[in-house]
Symmetry: C2
DNA sequence: CGGGGGTTTGACGAACGTCAATCGGGGTGG
DNA sequence: CCACCCCGATTGACGTTCGTCAAACCCCCG
C-alpha cells in the first residue's frame, strides 16, 4: 500500500497514454475518448513481476499507465540482457492473432500499473479509428528504431558513450510522456538494471556515472536524473533523435526537398 | 562477368525463396506457383551497393534470390553496426504503405540478385493466399527473434561465445534455404564484416576464429564454413534455435502441457 | 541498534582494441 | 607465363577498457 490515496475514476492516470498517442498522430475526439475510457482491466504489479514470459502465447496488448518495465532475456547462467524499457504511455504485447510465442519476457522494474489496450487495437484494426491505427503503427516503428539504437550502443559505443546516449534517449521519451522536462526526468532504475541494459558490469556503470558527474554533465539524485548539458552529451554520444513523429496523414512520395 | 553461363528462365533461381517460405508455412500449389513466377523485376547489384538508404521512404519489399546483404547503420566517425544478414530466401523492405522512413540501410555484401516481392505481399494481404500471409508473418517474427539473439550476443556474450553462436545461427538459416547441410555452409564474409556485426575488432575476430580452429570446432576455407562439432559449439554458446517454425494453422490457446 | 539492498571505491586481472608489419592468394597488365 | 599489386588474413607487441573480487559505505526501514 502506498500512503497516499489515489482517486480511481479520474481520467488523470491515463494522461501519459493519451499524451503519447497524440504525440504520434492526430486523434479525433472520439478516439481520445476511447483511450480515456480504457480504465477497465487495470492491473497492478510489484517490481520483479513477470508480465509476459518468453514463449508465452495467449497474451494481449496492454498500455503502461505508471511505473517502468522492460523487455529482457535471461541466459541459463544468470546473465541477462534488457532489450528495451517500457515507460508510461508505452504499449507492449502488441502482435497479430493468434499471438505467437513471445520472443522476450516483460518484467516490471518498479511498481507498475497497466491497462488492457485491446479496445484501442480493435478500433484501429477495424478501420474506425485511423488516428489510433497510425499512432500504433508509428509506435511500433519507433520501438524498432529504439532497438537499432540500442544495438549500436551495445556493439559500437564505449561505456561512456552508451550511458550518455541512453540518458538522452530516456529524456526524450519521458518528456513525450509528460514525465519530465528538457533536462530533468525520473530514473527509478538501479545500476544493476542499467548494467544489464547497456551490456556492462554494475561497477563499470557506477564508474561511468561518476565520471559524467565529475564532468558536470549530469546529476543523479534519489531517482531523478538531470542532464546539465544535453547538447554536450549529444555530441559525445552522437545522439540524433529519430524524428519521424507526426507522420502527415497522407504521405506523398513524389515530393522531395530541393 | 562470371565465367559460367546461367540459364535465366528456369525456376531454379527462386528455389531458396520457395524453400524458405515453405519451411515457414504450408503453401498451396497456387501459392507456390505465384512464388515461382516472381521472376519479373529481377535486379542485380554489386558488393557494396546500397539497396535501401536509411530514411528512404519509397521502397518495396524484395526477396534475396542469391548473394548476401545486410541491415546496418554507420556512425559519422565511420564505425558501423550490422544488425542482421540477408541470405537467399529472405525478404526485406517489408512494411505497411505508405512506407515510413527506413530505420537502417540495406547493403549488398556480395554480388546480389533480388526480385520484387510485392505480388506475394499483396496476395497475402488480400486474404487470397493465407499460407503466404502466414509465411510472411512468421518470417517477420523470426527476424525479430534474430535481432534479440544478436542483442544478447552483443551485450552479454564473450567474443568466443559470440562467434560460435553466430556461426550456429547461420548454419541453421542456410540449411533452411537449401544452401548448406547440417555442418557445412557458404560464408562469403570478410572478417571486417564479421567484426562489424559482432561488435568486435577485425583482429579480435581473427584470433577468435583461430582459437575455434585450433580446438577443432570449426574449419574455414575459401568461403566455406564447416562446424566440426556443432553440439559442442551449441554448448559453448548456449545456442537454442527458435523453434516456432511451422506454426499450426489454427492455434488453440486453451491447451497447455501438463 | 541491527540489517539489507543499493552504491561506491580500490586492487587486480582478463578481454579486447590499436598499431604495425608480414603473409598469401587471386587478378591483371606486360 | 610472370611480375606486380591489392585486399584480406595473420601475427606480435603493447595499451586501454572493462570485469571481478572484496570491502566499505550509505540510507532507509524495521
Amino acid at each position: 500500500m502506498t500512503g497516499r490515496f489515489k482517486p480511481r475514476l479520474a481520467p488523470r492516470p491515463l494522461d501519459s497514454v493519451l499524451r503519447r498517442l497524440r504525440s504520434l498522430s492526430g486523434l479525433s475526439e472520439a478516439e481520445q475518448d476511447l483511450v480515456r475510457n480504457l480504465s477497465e482491466r487495470r492491473e497492478r504489479h510489484a517490481a520483479g513481476d513477470e508480465l509476459i514470459a518468453e514463449g508465452q502465447t495467449g497474451r494481449r496488448a496492454r498500455f503502461v499507465v505508471s511505473g517502468w518495465a522492460c523487455n529482457q532475456r535471461v541466459l541459463p547462467d544468470g546473465r541477462r540482457q534488457i532489450f528495451s524499457f517500457l515507460v508510461p504511455g508505452d504499449v507492449f504485447g502488441l502482435c497479430e492473432r493468434p499471438a505467437p510465442p513471445a520472443l522476450s519476457s516483460v518484467v516490471a522494474l518498479t511498481a507498475l500499473e497497466t491497462v488492457e489496450a485491446e479496445p484501442v487495437v480493435e478500433a484501429a484494426q477495424s478501420g474506425e479509428a485511423p488516428g489510433l491505427a497510425r499512432a500504433l503503427a508509428v509506435a511500433r516503428l519507433l520501438d524498432q528504431g529504439l532497438l537499432f539504437d540500442h544495438m549500436v550502443r551495445l556493439g559500437r559505443q564505449t561505456a561512456y558513450e552508451r550511458v550518455a546516449h541512453f540518458l538522452l534517449e530516456l529524456q526524450r521519451r519521458l518528456e513525450q510522456a509528460g514525465l519530465g522536462d528538457s533536462q530533468r526526468f525520473p530514473l527509478p532504475l538501479t545500476q544493476e538494471i542499467l548494467a544489464d541494459a547497456l551490456g556492462l558490469s554494475i561497477v563499470h556503470v557506477n564508474r561511468t556515472l561518476q565520471q559524467l558527474r565529475r564532468e558536470r554533465l549530469i546529476e543523479l539524485r534519489s531517482g531523478v536524473a538531470i542532464l546539465l548539458q544535453p547538447e554536450l552529451l549529444a555530441g559525445i554520444a552522437d545522439y540524433r533523435p529519430t524524428s519521424l513523429g507526426r507522420v502527415p496523414p497522407a504521405a506523398r512520395t513524389d515530393r522531395r526537398p530541393a
